[in-house]
Symmetry: C2
Subunit: 202 residues, 2 copies
């Protein structure tokens, strides 16, 4: 899957951008520059320079850097969800669930700055005004666990099973990103650690 899917980048004749296209181009370029550095070093001016527009035209879409980072995080979450769904496609039950978990870790390994940004930007689960919690990275896992845990599973059992699966893939991601696991091909490692029979679903 390309890093550019679902983004549009069409310059108009005179080198300017149509309104919606500029927003997409800003996000696309923002994602690219994010991975070359970090959320801390990313700047609106750098993005403007990269795509050849004035800083003023950026501010129409993103009044400040936080607004841009929020948009990048949202695009990152959508991209993660797309990749998890694509990985699970055509698989059943536990195998589909394991594939979603593996896709989560692969996403983190391939987009480290974006992965970190998502978790910096995510609203707290304790925030009662949070309407987007269902789009959080754990959401797909949560959706799947209910069916897998079986009808007799209690709410507490399902919750523990979800948190175990989410913790496993999140922890593996963070350990890889912080350089704690060396000397192994990441994809092979992910397949071994996030194995179907390592999932405790109840």
């Amino acid at each position: 899957m390309s890093a550019n899917d679902n983004t549009v980048n069409i310059r108009s004749n005179k080198g300017g951008y149509h309104h919606g296209d500029l927003r997409s181009a800003l996000i696309e370029t923002g994602l690219k520059l994010l991975e070359q550095g970090s959320a801390e070093t990313l700047s609106l001016r750098e993005i403007a320079r990269e795509i050849g527009v004035s800083a003023t035209s950026i501010y129409r879409h993103f009044p400040d850097k936080d607004a841009l980072l929020a948009a990048l995080a949202a695009e990152g979450m959508a991209k993660l969800a797309r990749e998890q769904k694509a990985a699970a496609k055509g698989k059943d039950g536990k195998e589909a669930f394991a594939e979603m978990g593996r896709a989560y870790v692969r996403f983190a390994v391939r987009n480290p700055a974006l992965f970190r940004l998502i978790y910096t930007s995510l609203p707290s689960a304790a925030d009662p005004n949070c309407v987007n919690q269902e789009e959080s990275p754990g959401w797909l896992l949560r959706q799947s666990i209910a069916g897998l845990a079986g009808e007799k599973a209690t709410a507490a059992q399902k919750r523990a099973a979800l948190l175990r699966a989410w913790s496993l893939v999140h922890g593996l991601s963070m350990l890889i990103l912080s350089g704690q696991i060396a000397g192994t091909d990441a994809d092979k490692l992910i397949d071994e650690v996030v194995s179907v029979d390592s999932l405790k679903l109840r």
Copy 2:
């Protein structure tokens, strides 16, 4: 267990510090101030002010902030190891292993800034000059897994089992610290998620 164990804080008669005592006092105060803020906001001047010594006398022990942070991270790792060992004491096999994992998450929840600092300061596993890797937070888990996995377990199986256990506790820690899990008593949650029968040891 107190936050102050294994640190010494003895003022000499005139309000000054003996050499070794000042170092201990700096670390102890550094740990306290770290948890009131973060590694980013911590300053050597603030620590000097807090314990009433000149900035100059601090520089004799820690030439710069990075040197202090490295000492705090080392103390943090030692403290984590002590708490893991204490939690496992008197337990056997899988139960001891689960208790060490739970102690890891409790440590993260109770010392969030220190826990993050440890992982910022840890040398990469890929660094061939790294002699301290065996003191890393995964070390105790690694030590224990060999016996638990059984004689017939291959090196790859032991490695996957270690990474599963470490990922589980590290991921749960990070999800709690980033505010993704709400509405439950942390200790109860940790006991449920890091359960003995959720450990896949081979």
